[in-house]
């Protein structure tokens, strides 16, 4: 009897091993443990045994049942796992994934958006106006003398009808001050034009961002503060900024703004011509004459303005050696800025 049981267990084990689907398990279970199974039949034969033999035999039958149950259980689990485990032999995981083919913004747009964001977070609004301007808004209102050399054909593009292509976005400031009352807190990003031949550091078309703040109690502290915040957010917290005396017709006092060289941390290098400082643009307190022209009471209101060159910032930030690269629109350049924030 015991031998018969052991061979039955062995037979069941082998058959269970061959199961490959949940259905196979059900069939095998019915065959070995079901009502018509050999094992079940053996239970029926218990009464043929003497009272003394019965417990031992019953124990054997139960242990056979338990063993077969265990085989079924472990095979069933294996089948379940096989269903979701992938055979990874021969799979080359180094082959590339499928990429969503995003494009990218032009580096000048990237920098423009960065600048917009910095200033908008400081409560500035963005103002725009036409690029084709009259002399009043580009020169006169900005206190530029009638015979100033910047008005020459050699410096400024003129179009038919006596208008010109604005040489700075300060024109937007004038137009905003004509239309709105202080307090005013704007930046005016946009294209400007100067009659320069394209070379590594010049372009007849370039992008400027000017900032203008007019309110009661605006002082050079506010100028310094805004400039410093801008430089730190744009170039990192280590960057220092400074202003030094200069001349612009529409600001008084006027200043040139510098930031510490981002290439050498102000130690002196080729980029900053060993000075440790990089010129960022012009700045100053709005000249009372500008306010007077626009009918803003310069006794009540003061303001500051400054202008930044977007190309120059982009070139510094991304180490672009030649301004002309920015206008070639070569995909091999554009692709390098894919994903830049």
């Amino acid at each position: 009897m015991q031998d018969q049981l052991e061979s039955l267990i062995l037979e069941a084990e082998q058959e269970i091993e061959k199961c490959s689907a949940p259905n196979d398990i059900l069939n095998v279970r019915a065959k070995y443990l079901g009502k018509k199974s050999v094992l079940n039949g053996l239970y029926g034969r218990m009464r043929e045994l003497s009272k003394e033999e019965r417990p031992a035999f019953g124990g054997l039958l139960n242990s056979a049942r338990v063993k077969i149950e265990a085989f079924l259980e472990s095979r069933s689990e294996a089948i379940k796992q096989a269903a979701w485990k992938k055979d990874s032999s021969g799979f080359d995981y180094t082959l590339p994934g499928v990429s969503l083919s995003r494009g990218g913004l032009h580096p000048l747009s990237i920098v423009r958006r960065q600048i917009d964001e910095v200033f908008m977070s400081m409560g500035f609004e963005i103002a725009e106006a036409d690029e084709i301007e009259d002399e009043f808004h580009n020169f006169d209102a900005l206190n530029t003398p009638k015979d100033h050399p910047s008005r020459n054909l050699a410096d400024t593009f003129y179009v038919e009808g006596g208008k010109l292509l604005r040489t700075q976005t300060s024109t937007v400031q004038i137009r905003v001050m004509e239309k709105y009352k202080p307090p005013i807190k704007i930046i005016s990003p946009g294209r400007c034009y100067r009659n320069d031949k394209p070379d590594p550091s010049h372009s007849p078309v370039f992008t400027q961002v000017e900032a203008l703040v007019v309110d009661k109690g605006i002082s050079m502290i506010d100028l310094q503060d805004t400039l410093q915040s801008f430089a730190r957010i744009m170039f990192g917290t280590k960057v220092k900024s400074r202003i030094r005396p200069h001349f612009f017709p529409f600001t008084e006092p006027s200043a040139e703004m510098d930031i510490s060289c981002v290439a050498c941390d102000g130690q002196g290098c080729r980029v900053c011509k060993q000075s440790g400082w990089l010129e960022m643009g012009g700045a100053g307190m709005v000249d009372p004459a500008v306010f007077d022209t626009l009918g803003i009471d310069s006794e009540i209101y003061t303001g500051f303005a400054f202008g930044l060159g977007v190309e120059r910032i982009a070139m510094l930030k991304y180490n672009i050696p030649d301004m002309r690269i920015l206008f070639e629109n070569d995909l091999r350049m554009l692709r390098q800025f894919r994903g830049e924030l």
């Binding site: 499928v98 747009s109 084709i132 078309v205």
Partner: protein
């Protein structure tokens, strides 16, 4: 906290209307969470006497009462002024005085009429407090005091009409947890004087009883006072006292307890009265009981007024008698020593407890009471005696009795006065406008801040420290002694807040209306347009604003546009301002093709420059050019080529996302192929176009179409028009459908001249409310299909907002759809 206007008026002469008062409170920083008006009951609701109350036969609870209405005119009363009234209240019985609402009375919820009940006519109703609207209690009808005169109007008895306010008191303002505090803040707001209740001088002690007082925890109980009143007569409170409590949401109990509650509501400071005779002595042979302020023993048991047994941990502060706890200090009294009808002698406690200890005990045993609520918020020890005096005077007046012995007062460490300076210059700096010194003094005087002196400013409490002269105007400060009940005022800035709050935040200058210089919507639309193209794999280019004029003819225009010409161009091919972005994009395309690029997607967002009426304009446009693969190169998944469907999807996708409902027509640009190029507009306003560039045009840019073997597509968005049109669109949330959507497929034979759009529109029109969407999943043309037809397969999504769709309903609808398509478009099923 609930306060009644009638009670508040005892401390302040306010004649403001309800809404006005609510505004005043709100802007004093006391938020009004609810206003409940208790209307007058009128001349038909009166005090009446139940002369007899006989059970109505065959009912359990109804009684026929003969009610005496005295001189009250009423047609149907008998010669003894009696009228029959049926009443179902269990406490209705002969001999009581009750409130009767005669027929014709309008109560809050119903109108009283003569009614026939079980064949008996009832002339009115005996009312409960709830029915009259004076409390939430409907435990039977009101039983008035026996001495109320029959015929007295209920309005007179209850002081109606009245208004109650539900106030939210911020946790820092313990001083506002009483009527006097509210009145004080209002007085500062209105610059009125508050009215202090007159406390008569207390008589000399004439009693003989004594009590011992031991304070073992002066840290947790900075002050404990105790006073014995002998021979009081416990009885219901007089009507006025009951009324005030009722209207503040408190249930009257008996005169002594009611008085302690009354004084707590008046002053914000809780009191407790013990039954003197229930207090145990410490030693058995001692002649007088003891009160001991001590910590609980671990596992010590306490049965509170609520009848529950509390097992104490050992860190609760107790007021114990000589043997066992008599109260959880500041939280709840004990049952054993509570005031009952049998009480004759009382011990009155007025104390101050450390807030943290009260909070901990209250939290631990989940016992929050009017008392703990107040002590948790830090009450001053300074007023314990005056509050005790106020309650004592009221008890002597109302409950009688005499004082026994002097007040016992354990106050080992009197609170130190606080003197703080406030600089007018600082007010201007922080609040933003000037307030003159006299105004400051007026406001603070109303808050009981007493002016001390003027001098140089120093931070911190200056009590007992010399105030030096100010060095200049900026340094000059006014010094005030802060009243003890303002535990929240500890620094100059706290005083500044009081000044600003009570002067009114509306005094803070409002900035002028902000002008909007920036067009934020247009800014976002421009960025979104660029981002959309970037998401479709395009790179942004930037080109000069001036171009070669001959390029426009290369695009197929017969004449050059009316360019804005430069007077001093740098070269002939940069001599005019651009009127289109397309030529330069084609130049960028050619450039990159020449540099071995094949899959190219480029766009530019920039201005074009147009002459207009002798002047000019510079609108912005976004244009793009596409050629090559429609996806990234991948070895395992082949991407298709950029074609009509790709460009159409890209172009329309953004407009769809913006929610624009556009019309489509063939694009009329000479550089685009016919039949594949379409322009989009809304009410004649151009949104843009897309289309395939004609091969001869490309040749003008030296792009050899034979070699390229790719289609070149362009699109252009008029971003300014899109910004204008999308400005008005606002999104409104739609409820998510609660019932499942069902999809049905339809395979149809469509005549070649019938467009998909026509088919779709007819299907949608069949039932707009049920058919949510139609989308094609197959188009098929072959010889098996009848000549002049093509096969289209569509997914149709159906959904009902109201219920789950049944198969029957769907089938009926699908039959209808088929019928409509057959009749209107000669479309049949496959």
């Amino acid at each position: 906290m609930k306060i009644a206007l009638s009670w508040l008026k005892q401390y302040l002469d306010i004649d403001s209307g309800v809404q006005e008062l609510s505004q005043l409170l709100t802007f004093a920083g006391i938020e009004v969470e609810g206003i409940e008006e208790i209307p007058a009951l009128g001349k038909t609701v009166i005090a009446a006497e139940v002369v007899s109350a006989e059970r109505v036969p065959k009912t359990d609870h109804l009684r026929l009462c003969m009610v005496n209405i005295g001189d009250m005119p009423y047609d149907e009363k008998d010669e003894n002024n009696l009228i029959p009234v049926i009443c179902g209240a269990p406490n209705c019985r002969a001999g009581i005085k009750a409130v009767l609402a005669l027929p014709g009375t309008s109560l809050k919820d119903f109108k009283i009429k003569k009614a026939k009940i079980r064949g008996i006519v009832s002339h009115g109703m005996l009312c409960s407090e709830k029915e009259l609207g004076i409390s939430d209690s409907h435990g039977g009808i009101i039983e008035l005091e026996p001495d109320v005169k029959i015929g007295t109007l209920a309005d007179e008895i209850y002081g109606l009409p009245d208004v109650s306010f539900e106030l939210e008191i911020t946790p820092d303002r313990s001083d506002l947890l009483g009527y006097k505090g509210i009145a004080r803040d209002l007085s500062a707001k209105l610059l009125l004087k508050t009215k202090e209740p007159a406390i008569p001088a207390l008589p000399k002690p004439a009693g003989t009883l004594k009590i011992g007082l031991t304070n073992l925890e002066p840290k947790l109980c900075p002050r404990y006072t105790l006073r014995i009143i002998e021979g009081v007569k416990i009885a219901p409170s007089p009507q006025w006292l009951q009324n005030t409590l009722l209207k503040s949401g408190l249930r009257p109990i008996n005169n002594v307890v009611d008085i302690t509650n009354y004084v707590m509501f008046e002053s914000g400071h809780p009191l407790h009265a013990f039954d003197y005779d229930k207090l145990a002595t410490k030693e058995d042979n001692q002649s007088h009981p003891d009160i001991i302020v001590r910590l609980a023993e671990p596992k010590e048991e306490f049965i509170a007024l609520d009848g529950k047994k509390y097992i104490l941990d050992g860190d609760e502060l107790l007021i114990a008698d000589g043997k066992s706890p008599s109260a959880l200090a500041g939280v709840m009294g004990g049952q054993g020593s509570s005031i009952t009808d049998e009480t004759v002698n009382i011990a009155l406690e007025s104390a101050a407890f450390e807030p943290g200890s009260v909070r901990k005990t209250s939290y631990k045993h989940k016992l929050s009471t009017d008392s703990s609520y107040r002590f948790e918020r830090h009450l001053s020890a300074e007023y314990a005696v005056s509050i005790s005096d106020r309650a004592t005077a009221l008890i002597l007046e109302i409950a009688g009795g005499k004082l026994a012995g002097e007040l016992l007062d354990s106050y080992p460490q009197p609170e130190e006065p606080v003197v703080l300076g406030v600089r007018p210059s600082r007010f201007e700096l922080l609040i933003g406008y000037e307030m003159d010194e006299s105004r400051m003094k007026d406001i603070l005087a109303s808050l009981n801040f007493s002016y001390v002196a003027k001098g140089g400013f120093e931070h911190g409490n200056r009590h007992g420290i010399d105030i030096l002269p100010a060095q200049d105007e900026r340094d000059a400060a006014l010094y005030f002694k802060i009243p003890g009940f303002r535990k929240d005022v500890t620094r100059e800035v706290d005083i500044l807040e009081e000044l600003s709050r009570l002067d009114g935040y509306d005094k803070v200058p409002q900035p002028e209306d902000r002008q909007e210089i920036m067009d934020r919507h247009a800014y976002k639309i421009n960025n979104a347009a660029s981002d959309w193209l970037v998401a479709h794999g395009a790179f942004e280019t930037l080109n000069y604003s001036f171009v070669d004029p001959s390029r426009m003819r290369c695009l197929g225009y017969e004449d050059e546009p009316d360019f804005i010409r430069l007077i001093n161009p740098q070269s002939a091919n940069q001599s005019v301002m651009r009127t289109s972005l397309i030529p330069q994009l084609l130049t960028n395309l050619a450039y990159n093709l020449n540099h071995s690029e094949r899959d190219i997607r480029l766009f530019e967002l920039g201005r074009i420059y147009l002459k207009q009426d002798g002047s000019h304009k510079e609108p912005k446009r976004l244009a793009a050019v596409f050629t090559g693969s429609a996806g990234e190169m991948h070895f395992a998944k082949k991407a298709g080529e950029i074609d009509y469907y790709w460009v159409k999807g890209c172009f329309e996708g953004w407009l769809n996302q913006l929610g624009l409902n556009y019309g489509v027509s063939p694009a009329e640009h000479p550089y685009l192929t016919e039949g594949e190029s379409f322009a989009y507009e809304i009410d004649g306003v151009e949104l843009g176009y897309f289309g395939r560039v004609l091969p001869p045009v490309l040749e003008a840019w030296d792009i050899d179409v034979q070699i390229l073997k790719q289609e070149v597509w362009v699109l252009e968005y008029n971003v300014e028009n899109i910004a204008e049109i999308s400005r008005k669109i606002s999104r409104v949330y739609q409820d998510i459908p609660r019932y499942p959507a069902v999809m049905r497929d339809l395979s149809i034979l469509v005549p070649l001249e019938v467009s998909y759009q026509k088919v779709r529109d007819y299907i949608l029109e069949t039932d707009r409310s049920l058919i949510q969407s139609v989308s094609p999943f197959d188009e098929y043309r072959s010889e098996q299909i009848p000549q002049g037809f093509r096969s289209l397969s569509l997914h149709i999504v159906l959904q009902d907002q109201e219920k789950t769709l049944t198969d029957e309903r769907i089938d009926t609808l699908m039959v209808l759809v088929q019928k409509v398509l057959k009749e209107k478009l000669n479309v049949s099923m496959r």
